[in-house]
């Protein structure tokens, strides 16, 4: 008698476990295989920590698949012509109250530009629903990536700046994505432009940058403590210096919004990235550009750098005093 009861007990215990294991086994193995990918070539370029890197790689891997399958094939809003080079806009963004507003008006601008591909990189651990939904609703051609900048980044005391300039890791991720998606042999013409989400861009700017052969430059308003900063152009139409007050002897004394790079050049020099650490204030753009071009190769646009087509506007941080400690408004309402 006890023997049978024991056997019954054992069977009752073991049966659900075997069911569980078979079911779980099926679903667990498949995604594990997908995540494992050889990252050998990029090992030297690891920016984030190990664990977060594989996660963000996983998310970008998913994005690549999604983009190729759905966005590129079917979504072609504003006019898309096969003759024009695609403008790849790289925008780093981060969550704050004005984020949705900034991205909305940026999208309203981009909807006018033909052959535009928006690469939006969030500074977050995972892609937020707010941005995901917003991107889908705009109808733009986009790629949604994310990588989180480590918040408590500590350096040795002797280094002057303890923080990674905002947006650097995100821009680098986008460059890496471009290098993985396009190969140098492809005939797809493209231009890469770094557009921050709070600047203002005129539509003329995008047409000016479309003819970039290597790197093109133009003036930017409200930077360097001036009404505008601009490259100095000589009579032969070549850039020979920088009209700026703040450290004009930088290799490239230009703002992030003041230049665009031909995609071919990005693919041709796969080791060129923004330098993460040890970059002095104002030298971030130079850290990338000096690996790509010399001053002589720069192409001045905007009527030989005499017109302002982009403004480095900054949005005020909204005063939220009336929210109080607990929050007065419904947090489920998205702003």
């Amino acid at each position: 008698m006890p023997k049978r009861r024991d056997i019954l007990a054992i069977v009752l215990i073991v049966l659900p476990w075997t069911l569980l294991i078979t079911v779980w086994h099926q679903s667990a193995i498949a995604p594990l295989l997908a995540i494992r990918k050889d990252d050998g070539a990029d090992r030297g370029r690891r920016e984030a920590g190990q664990s977060s890197d594989s996660k963000e790689y996983c998310s970008s891997d998913k994005d690549i698949v999604e983009v190729v399958r759905t966005e590129y094939v079917y979504t072609r809003p504003p006019p898309w012509s096969d003759g024009l080079p695609t403008i790849h806009i790289i925008t780093p963004t981060y969550s704050r109250p004005v984020q949705k507003a900034e991205l909305t008006r940026l999208a309203n601008t981009f909807l006018h530009v033909a052959n535009l591909h928006w690469i939006l990189v969030e500074d977050s651990q995972r892609r937020t629903p707010l941005v995901t939904r917003m991107l889908r609703e705009t109808g733009l051609n986009y790629t949604h990536l994310n990588v989180e900048t480590p918040r408590n980044y500590k350096l040795r005391a002797d280094t002057r700046d303890p923080r990674i300039p905002r947006g650097t890791m995100q821009r680098n991720l986008a460059l890496r994505w471009l290098r993985e998606t396009f190969n140098s042999n492809s005939s797809q013409a493209g231009i890469v432009y770094f557009a921050d989400d709070d600047n203002t861009y005129s539509l003329e700017l995008f047409e000016e940058m479309r003819s970039t052969r290597k790197v093109s430059v133009w003036p930017v308003a409200f930077v360097g403590g001036l009404r505008y900063e601009s490259p100095k152009v000589n009579a032969a139409g070549k850039v020979y210096g920088w009209k700026t007050v703040f450290d004009p002897h930088r290799p490239f004394a230009i703002d992030m919004a003041g230049f665009a790079i031909n995609l071919r050049l990005i693919l041709f020099k796969p080791q060129a990235y923004f330098k993460l650490r040890g970059v002095k204030g104002g030298y971030q753009e130079s850290s990338l550009l000096r690996e790509l071009v010399t001053l002589n190769d720069l192409e001045p646009k905007a009527s030989n750098c005499t017109k302002i087509l982009v403004w480095h506007t900054r949005t005020e941080k909204p005063v939220l005093v009336n929210e109080g400690k607990k929050g007065f408004t419904d947090p489920n309402v998205e702003i």
Binding site: D6, P97, E102, G281, K317
Partner: protein, 363 residues
């Protein structure tokens, strides 16, 4: 024999306990991770992309069928009410940038007429040139603010109500223009007061187009809160959700309401009172036009934010600004309010397994 049986059962239980404990720990570790919902999302994705493809094919066909100058503009229906946007503006560094991105938004909206009123004794060439090349239907007006009502250098922005004279000038022009064109059709329209530094989503304009008297909706980033909004019950506005002086007759922002053209013309004297106390500018206009229960709530019964009261920083014209723009200044130190990250609801087997393990552990 009995002890051997007992022993065996004991070991079984011990084993059981260990396995379920390990499983629970594993499941707990997995709980924070991203779900792989590919199998569930893929068919949905496919349907979405197929439908999107069809939609775009149809849109392209439509575009090819009608030869319009701006192909992305929607087909204009003859009886669609025109939206008249009254925007006061004044000369400052960021003016052209603000107007540029505002125009880029307006270009997407069909049947829109922009009434831009400068705070200036005469029309400035910057604005004239800008409007001429904008591609929009516009009216360029100007009227200077009297000196005693003007903000001085160093005054906080909320000290005196701004733009009252300019908006009144816009209303005056509109009324005069409509008087010169009598007819029921010309009375069809909506008037909206859009400041040049706010941010507007395209959906907002479609929401306001059907305004019969005065329609209202939430405004983001205003009143010291994430958003301000009218509270709607039974399809009617019963009160206003605002953190600042809710006892005002109409505690909403300029960007939070639109008035039908018919109402504007019917009440020739309704205008903004430039001497109104802080925050009462909107009420001074709306008081004579409508009562609270006549308000038409839009934006899904005032639950969606379609307009944001953004403000642009005054660019610092000092050389130190260069360090700020690199993100090495105060920017990175300020951890702004973060949006709560909603965990993606996902029919994931992994989470189910975790629950399973938990119950077994309890057993």
């Amino acid at each position: 024999m009995a002890t051997r049986m007992k022993l065996k059962l004991k070991t079984v239980f011990v084993l059981y306990f260990m396995v379920s404990l390990m499983g629970l720990i594993y499941a707990l570790m997995q709980l924070g991770q991203r779900c792989d919902c590919a199998e569930h999302d893929m068919p949905k994705d496919r349907t979405i992309s197929r439908l999107r493809g069809e939609l775009h094919r149809l849109q392209e066909q439509m575009r090819k069928a009608e030869p319009t100058k701006l192909p992305h503009k929607l087909a204009v229906k003859p009886a669609q009410p025109t939206i008249y946007i009254i925007t006061p503006t004044y000369t400052r560094f960021v003016q052209k940038a603000e107007l540029t991105r505002l125009a880029q938004t307006f270009l997407h909206v069909p049947q829109l007429h922009w009434i831009l009123v400068e705070d200036s004794p005469h029309k400035t060439p910057l604005v004239s040139g800008f409007l001429a090349s904008s591609g929009l239907a516009y009216t360029h007006l100007h009227t200077p603010t009297p000196r005693d009502r003007k903000l001085q250098e160093g005054d906080p922005s909320w000290l005196k109500p701004r733009g009252a004279e300019q908006r009144n000038e816009g209303l005056r022009w509109l009324r005069e223009d409509r008087r010169g064109q009598p007819g029921a059709d010309t009375q069809l329209g909506v008037v909206y007061f859009a400041d040049d530094d706010n941010t507007y989503s395209l959906q907002l304009f479609e929401e306001m187009r059907g305004t019969q008297r005065v329609s209202v909706w939430p405004v983001g980033l205003v009143g010291g809160m994430r958003y301000e909004r009218p509270v709607v019950e039974g399809g009617k506005v019963v009160r206003f959700h605002t953190g600042w002086r809710p006892s005002r007759p109409f505690p909403l922002d300029m960007a939070g309401f639109a008035v039908s053209l018919k109402l504007v013309i019917a009440n020739q004297d309704a205008c903004f009172d430039g001497d109104a106390p802080m925050g009462f500018l909107e009420s001074s206009f709306l008081q004579g036009l409508v009562t609270m229960d006549e308000l038409e709530p839009k934006a899904e019964n005032c639950t969606k934010v379609l307009v944001w009261h953004t403000r642009t920083e005054k660019p610092k014209m000092k050389r130190e600004e260069a360090l700020q723009k690199q993100g090495l200044g105060s920017d990175t130190a300020v951890e702004c309010v973060r949006q709560p990250v909603l965990h993606q609801a996902c029919e994931c087997q992994r989470d189910g397994v975790g629950v399973f393990f938990f119950f077994f552990f309890l057993l």
